[in-house]
Subunit: 267 residues, 2 copies
């Protein structure tokens, strides 16, 4: 196997949690396969979650109005980011793949991880300035991304007709909005549902399924999101009429007809 | 007009930002209409964004494993929540409606607001313990909720076929996952797109449109999300076959056919 570089980002406050165990498992499994692995354990790092004026103090005059996108772009291009943000950007740039491990809280990432998105993926680093269109042509292209998530609810409630919405759709703001927007190729998410009552037997099955997904990190089919430059969208970034299969709606519009998503381990 | 109680929660680090201006506008407009208004300005409050063991210290023995849902439920039912969380729960319980004002960062709420969801909407307060099914029967039923959001991208890119996904779908984790899950009735979101270049003229139009939405806070049609107890779902929380209109997919499955969403002000 070709040795690659992988960044594992985890976000759970409890070192004995299922998420911590899965993050450790991923790190061990990837290293055993010969990959180089770096870890951002956000709680252990006491990661600062909130974007505020302290992030851009050096670049702006005291008392001036904070315009977040402009300030973050100036700080990025001028090499004046805070050391914690600069270090994470260096890790993302270094990586051939990023793995996120987190519990689904209120149907999205815990605040500390959202704050990693908000603070690390600055204008001038993750997109822009201006020229290349986002999505497939994004500046982080060439990298792969895998979300590994735990959820208390049952798998059926996250299935295609499940009331919480399909897991791939629930994670769309991360899969499509963060990863694909910046050019990274997201794999179908790996989700452990019913995570509050995990028997030894099911835990063994989860580990095995996760190992298979990690083994496919650089070879599995990525989610076939559409490209802005592929001729599917008009100049207003709207999908052209009639390019989707009949009956497809919602976020499914933005995936090309492709292979079925990898099923999650049964709850 | 019937005087009601409204909680406005805002999340922007800059007091001169468009979001701060819109939050102030909402407060003023609602008060002028006779409503009682309380405000949670999360940055001004230096709201703690991350869930961690400090949230539950009193309830758990030192060194014990933190199980977030169980610990938060115990602290809630035992009256041992931290004062900041208890105060926000009291505001939500007090309110007839909650208005959220925030910039869309990476297609979801800023970390500080996500941390308000994560820390305030505990087990035992926002859902459970166990008995009533979530969604329409949730324990916060009777309240209304309005998301007011700003986004840099153009309106077309958040339209029904826009590449970022339809705004109502992008906000589904909040609209359906937080509000509707806990029993609150969410209104269609109010979104200001193209928010980085807002002319005086467009700002005036935005204010007018926002005023109309605030005027309809207690009378506009809520998003017609389906109910778990209405016979639309099976026991595995999957939507029954054939109940949707032909061609509907994605999160749209979980809305009954109903009135068109209120359009956002043109970008």
């Amino acid at each position: 196997m070709n040795a690659k570089k992988v960044l594992v980002v985890s976000a759970h406050p409890e070192p004995l949690s299922l998420n911590a165990v899965l993050a450790d498992f991923a790190v061990g499994h990837l290293r055993a396969a010969g990959h180089e692995v770096r870890v951002s354990d956000l709680y252990a790092m006491k990661w600062k979650a909130t974007v505020d004026a302290d992030d851009y103090d050096e670049g702006s005059g005291a008392g001036s109005r904070l315009r977040v996108m402009a300030a973050s772009q100036e700080a990025t291009l001028g090499g004046r980011l805070t050391p914690d943000v600069a270090a994470e950007q260096e890790k993302v740039r270094w990586a051939d793949a990023v793995v996120l491990q987190f519990p689904l809280w209120w149907f999205s990432a815990p605040a500390i991880l959202k704050g990693w998105f908000d603070r690390v993926f600055t204008a001038g680093f993750a997109y822009g300035p201006a020229v290349p269109p986002p999505y497939s042509e994004g500046v982080l292209a060439g990298r792969r991304a895998l979300v590994s998530v735990t959820a208390g609810a049952r798998e059926t409630s996250f299935s295609d007709r499940g009331i919480h919405g399909e897991m791939a759709d629930v994670l769309y703001p991360i899969q499509h909005g963060l990863f694909w927007f910046t050019g990274m190729a997201p794999l179908p998410p790996f989700a452990v549902c019913g995570a509050n009552e995990l028997s030894e037997e099911r835990f063994a099955a989860v580990r095995e399924a996760y190992a298979a997904r990690l083994d496919g990190l650089f070879t599995d089919e990525a989610v076939p999101f559409r490209s802005l430059v592929g001729g599917d969208y008009d100049h207003d970034m709207r999908l052209l009429p009639g390019v989707e299969e009949p009956g497809v709606g919602g976020f499914g519009l933005h995936r090309r007809p492709g292979p079925a998503l990898v099923p999650v381990p049964g709850a």
